[in-house]
Symmetry: C2
Subunit: 233 residues, 2 copies
């Protein structure tokens, strides 16, 4: 399978889903967040986690990737994990706000700051879900608190699961000095940077993707097994 998917193509595909196929933002975020939580359970079943408590830290960025992280957290909670969310820049978008309230009302804890002492994170959590930056962000203009968060993520020793784009990587060029996730979950199709992914598990989420779109963008996706919402490459 080739990874020819540029930032421009990813944006064109999303526009087609939203405008022509009339998929809703809320709908896509829900599907993808649920798929991410499912992928996490496949690689890290509850019983295999090294810590006594099934803790997972989910770091959510300001845009859609962060919103998908919130849904992932809520679904992990339903799967009996213990997610904790760090969401430093809460969006004013109503859809994202509602997803935040759902997590809060389900008693998922939110951190008010991320420890700079990385060992505290390694000790407290089994895994980190990187829902920080996605296709829409321009890495060249990275502001605080994201630069500091990325610096922390680079030093973390517990496994990182990155959603769509490992944070800090360029969508196309990747980033040799960036974070090194153990799991990558590509949305709809792998972006060009995924060719540089050297972790253990690469999933695709987005079974809803209409066949005509797959054909138009020449995606050549693998077949999803049974009723699975993710497929591993």
């Amino acid at each position: 399978m080739s990874f020819p998917f540029s930032k421009q193509e990813a944006e064109a595909l999303e526009a087609e889903l939203l405008e022509d196929y009339r998929f809703g933002k809320q709908q896509l975020i829900e599907i993808l967040g649920h798929s991410c939580a499912t992928a996490v359970t496949k690689v890290y079943p509850l019983k295999t986690l090294p810590k006594k408590q099934p803790t997972i830290l989910i770091i959510c960025g300001p845009e859609q990737n962060g919103a998908i992280g919130l849904v992932c957290a809520r679904n992990l909670r339903a799967f009996d994990y213990e997610p904790t969310i760090f969401y430093p820049k809460k969006s004013i978008d109503t859809v994202y706000k509602d997803l935040t309230i759902q997590c809060e009302k389900m008693d998922i804890p939110f951190l008010s700051y991320l420890p700079t002492e990385v060992q505290l994170i390694n000790d407290a959590y089994n895994l980190v879900v990187d829902a920080v930056l996605g296709v829409e962000e321009d890495i060249g203009e990275l502001k605080e608190p994201w630069a500091t968060i990325l610096a922390t993520l680079k030093q973390i020793k517990i496994p990182i699961i990155s959603l769509d784009i490992p944070s800090g990587w360029d969508v196309e060029a990747g980033e040799s000095e960036g974070i090194n996730p153990e799991v990558l979950i590509s949305f709809s199709a792998p972006k060009a940077c995924a060719i540089h992914f050297s972790g253990k598990h690469h999933f695709i989420a987005g079974r809803f993707l209409p066949y005509d779109i797959q054909k138009k963008f020449e995606l050549n996706l693998p077949k999803y097994p049974g009723t699975e919402c993710v497929v591993e490459l």
Copy 2:
């Protein structure tokens, strides 16, 4: 497990989900429609269908049950079934309209009328999904085309899968003269009428239901296995 859930309680629960927990209509419809499609695949795997083509007829009503039927159809298509939709009164609600467009753009056929000759339905389809009437409808005031559709459903010989409330049943009293589904998929919790269900498989869909709501309404739900979105009673 007892089935004490009245119409009033079902409505109070939904109001709490929408207003307090800020779940979105689009979000809930997507989750439930996906769950229904998954339940269908569990009882009727592709390879066990009697007809050569994996055809399923999905009859959608004017309200939320019908919208969930549309999402169920779309997900069944993604699971390699061949759904056909009959949706005689298309809603003007934007969320429902968008779900219709998604099905149309994915080349799921829509019937312009339902054959009155029941044998034609028995011959053409393996199953019928009854997404006609839900909690919100008042059975006493049943208008056309719903009365005729119900009369047809009562004569059908192929298995019927009913969503939440078998169409034509009263939410609480049930209906001894009504349709007789082989599968019932209750949303969140079984409604009182479910005690009269005499089919083979009764599922609950709604794993997203927050624990505090389950406790408040004394739902006493069974545990969903693994990452499953439905649980069979």
